[in-house]
Subunit: 178 residues, 2 copies
């Protein structure tokens, strides 16, 4: 297994605690606020990550490594969290994410992937053939993207409080592309 | 003290642990890599945050609240970390940041700031008069901006590994404005 995949695993292991710490001791108003329109709050992002643990990354890993000849991935539902998170507290979601991620990583590590296995492919609904190495790397980058997003969404709640500082606080000037 | 300033304190308290978790169990190659050119690595960002604890946020708070009639802030050195961090390990920097931040927050909390005190002002070298409320809010947003930056810089190290995924991993497409 290459160095980069070992780093992917470390990043994946770190994320639940990073997010728990980022959202520690904050008011609901901050955790539930978004960037306007139909953008996502930190709470929504957490639900999205949970849905990914259940239906995306490891499910696709199993398709790539499994014996079934049909290597097509199911499309991922980017909006499932709005239903699935209903009625759940932030701490429930944090705990659910932690548990799912831990089990997924135990499963991943137990496979003790070889470089050859990392080159095996599945069929992404839009991209076509993608390798397991690409899938696992994308999983870690996806985590980091959503950590950055949570940070940015929280930062923006203070836009009116910082006076002239947005000039040097460029995170306040970023508009998400979707 | 308003709700938002209480949230500012929570964010400031969370940051050292967030960064320690983000960088936990990673290879030096990942912690020391930047976004190209003279952009900053996670290690550089941490040095920058340390310098801010020493010379920026609380120093300026004391100028605003103190008896001295000269309310001008010293300009902040955005590049001091390249000298100050030399020879220090990541764990040394994490520990230094944690200790400095903890002491600064103990000091801040001991002031038990009133809404009236939060409206007192100092003179920023570029912006002119800024209120204590703006300064403290900017401190928290500054933290969140650098957490997002660290996440992004680490994500970018995997750009070559994710195959076609940058289309949906928009963090890989972000170019820092400075």
């Amino acid at each position: 297994m290459t160095l980069k995949i070992a780093q992917v695993q470390s990043i994946l292991e770190n994320t639940p605690q990073v997010i728990a710490d980022l959202l520690s001791d904050l008011d609901d108003a901050l955790v539930l606020s978004n960037e306007g329109g139909d953008s996502w709050s930190p709470y929504d992002v957490l639900g999205h990550l949970i849905h990914g643990e259940k239906t995306d990354w490891m499910v696709r890993t199993e398709i790539i490594l499994g014996d079934n000849e049909d290597k097509r991935f199911e499309p991922f539902d980017r909006f499932a969290q709005f239903q699935a998170s209903q009625g759940k507290s932030l701490s429930q979601l944090l705990e659910e994410f932690r548990r799912l991620r831990k089990n997924n990583l135990l499963n991943l590590k137990s496979k003790d992937l070889s470089d050859k296995e990392l080159e095996r492919t599945g069929i992404h609904p839009e991209f076509g053939a993608v390798s397991l190495r690409q899938l696992l790397s994308a999983w870690a980058v996806h985590d980091l993207g959503h950590i950055a997003q949570i940070s940015r969404v929280m930062a923006k709640q203070f836009t009116d409080e910082v006076g002239p500082w947005p000039k040097y606080l460029t995170i306040l000037n970023y508009t998400p592309s979707e």
